[in-house]
Amino acid sequence: MTRWRQVRGGRWSPLAAMLLLSPMALLLIAGFFYPLVNLLGRSLWTPEFSLVHYERLLGEPLYLLILMRTLWIAGVVSVFTLLLGYPVALVMARLGGWKAALVAACVLVPLWTSALVRSYAWVVLLQRNGIVNDTLRGLGLTEQPLRLIHTEGALLVAMTHVLLPFMVLPIYSVLRAISTDLPRAAANLGAGTWSIFRHVTLPLSLPGVFAGTLMVFILSLGFYITPALVGGPRTLMIATLIGQQMTELLNWSFASAIAAALLAVTLLLVAAFRRVLRIDQMAGHAG
């Protein structure tokens, strides 16, 4: 009998664990860590070591503005998806049978459609002679077509739509896991509908809220397609900037420096978020 087949109280032997992890580990090393290190290298050695690209990034107000705008848009999109998504998750968790399946399908269908298609759909809706403008003029509400596409508002709406499922699903799964005994116990102890939500359902769903918010925020920071199509040049976000530097200006070193800065900001924010909100501990309590 080979050593790795032995089962010890439900634990895998180290060898078996390594065998199971190795395909994923190899993929990560080849497809993620190597390019990442390569990227960082490019931003620092050109070919001698220099910080010139980082100086340029920090020295030019335009680039800082784009970074701040990216953070701002990611924050607003997180808040919007939370405000729209929490009630949806709550209703989904309360409903049973085919009604829950229907709402779940409405939330999931957008996930099965590519972000590119959904973004183009927003372009079709919002462009100068698009459906929204035609309708407004047809109703006589406006005379000239409104400038909708390539505005920050349009970008926020489109990104909220595209990222909504990533907020709804984690909240839904946490809400579903709350035993029905708990709201009942709260009612039995004198709590009304609002108090039950405020003191029991909401606090127990926070791990899902944090997971969803973090996911949407991080996805927003690096979002490429939707900002490029719906946001346009006026609401340039950082991923689009990186893309421009790489594909149009062929300035790989500077693109690498921006990417490294984005990575650093993301990691910092995740660390701060975890610290402040103690995700692990909260998740431990929800079980």
Binding site: S179, N188, H199
Partner: protein, 365 residues
């Protein structure tokens, strides 16, 4: 402790309650009165409707028909959060994100009590269940028995007149369960609460209750004191469910107002008290007799052979085979007169007619 004593218990009155879930009739015409300060158990097999009945008293289900009154007030349609009844859930239902003290303080907070009053009452409740000093822990840091006691403290801290408990001890091991039975009973007497206690464990019901209501298939089979249920079960179902019983089937051959003579299928004439309506000469019948009331001898009774001898410390159980199909169990002290009987011995089995009860054969199904 005096702080926790409320106005004592309130009577609970359930009248002709019916409840269906789709095609399942969970309760079919249940009526029940629990007196103020009474410990009343709802005993029955799984699926008999015990939880449904409790949920209606708590206000989580509304009966299709019938009424529920607490302390003389009709609460049939009153929302759960206005009923002011304590409840201990089967899996405790402690709030996992609140400390023990916050859990126990929750009902007081909902009632808008001042902070100082609240903490002194929480302290008292913790003392009552012997968990003083545990207030700052989280439920996940407690053992099953301790969580159970927190649930109990939380259910009585707001001085409800009625306490509902749904199989609260089912998840505990035997030793702990017996200790908690005493503790619950002690607390109930101390606070003067009316307790409705759901269990499927007949031994637990017998030891704890003032009265027991036996439920079967959404109906109450019998309500009475533990001794009444044990000594005078009103139906074969109750005789079977409470304690151990020998059932012997046969046909009625003689009948008067009190006693009934039955000719057993495997031959042999036996006598017992008439325990239910529906008996007539020539009809099928089932005679029930407790193993501890069966006497073994050599002179009178039906004849058989000892087929098994089961020793269990204080008691000795002997299985006596009568004919081809019937076995009668007899139990006595292990140092009693039957101690030196052994497997294969011929014996005669008898009992006093008043110790056996005869039910019509059809009434059981």
């Amino acid at each position: 402790m005096a702080e926790l004593k409320g106005a004592g218990g309130a009577p609970v009155s359930i009248a002709a309650v019916e409840k269906r879930f789709g095609s399942v009739a969970a309760l079919q015409g249940v009526s029940l009165d629990a007196g103020a300060g009474e410990f009343l158990s709802l005993l029955g097999p799984s699926g008999s409707g015990k939880t449904t009945l409790l949920m209606m008293i708590a206000g989580f289900e509304i009966p299709d028909r019938g009424t529920i009154a607490i302390g003389g007030r009709d609460v049939t349609e009153l929302p759960a959060n206005q009923r002011n009844v304590g409840m201990v859930f089967q899996r405790y239902a402690l709030f996992p994100h609140m400390t023990v003290a916050e859990n126990i303080g929750f009902p007081l907070r909902m009632r808008g009590l001042a902070r100082s009053e609240m903490s002194s009452r929480v302290e008292d409740a913790l003392k009552l269940v012997r968990l003083d000093g545990y207030g700052t822990r989280l439920p996940s840091q407690l053992s099953g028995g301790q969580q159970q006691r927190v649930a109990l403290a939380r259910a009585v801290v707001f001085r409800p007149p009625v306490l509902l408990m749904d199989e609260p001890l089912a998840a505990l091991d035997k030793k702990l369960r017996q200790a908690m039975q005493l503790e619950v009973r002690h607390l109930q007497r101390e606070l003067g609460l009316t307790v409705l206690y759901v269990t499927h464990d007949q031994e637990e019901a017998l030891t704890m209750s003032d009265r027991i209501a036996v439920l079967n298939d959404g109906r109450i089979e019998q309500i009475g004191r533990p001794e009444e249920l044990y000594e005078m079960p009103a139906s074969a179902f109750v005789a079977d469910f409470i304690g151990e019983t020998n059932f012997l089937s046969g046909d009625v051959v003689g009948l008067d107002a009190r006693e009934c003579r039955v000719l057993l299928d495997g031959d042999g004439l036996v006598t017992g008290r008439v325990a239910a309506d529906g008996l007539a000469a020539g009809t099928g019948a089932r005679l029930a007799v407790r193993p501890d009331r069966v006497r073994l001898g050599n002179a009178e009774g039906i004849e058989g052979t000892i087929a098994e001898r089961i020793y269990s410390g204080a008691m000795l159980m002997l299985a006596v085979r009568i004919g081809e199909t019937t076995t009668i169990m007899a139990r006595g002290p292990s140092n009693g007169p039957d101690a030196d009987r052994s497997v294969g011995d011929r014996v005669r089995v008898s009992w006093k007619p008043e110790d056996a009860r005869v039910y019509p054969a059809a009434a059981e199904r």
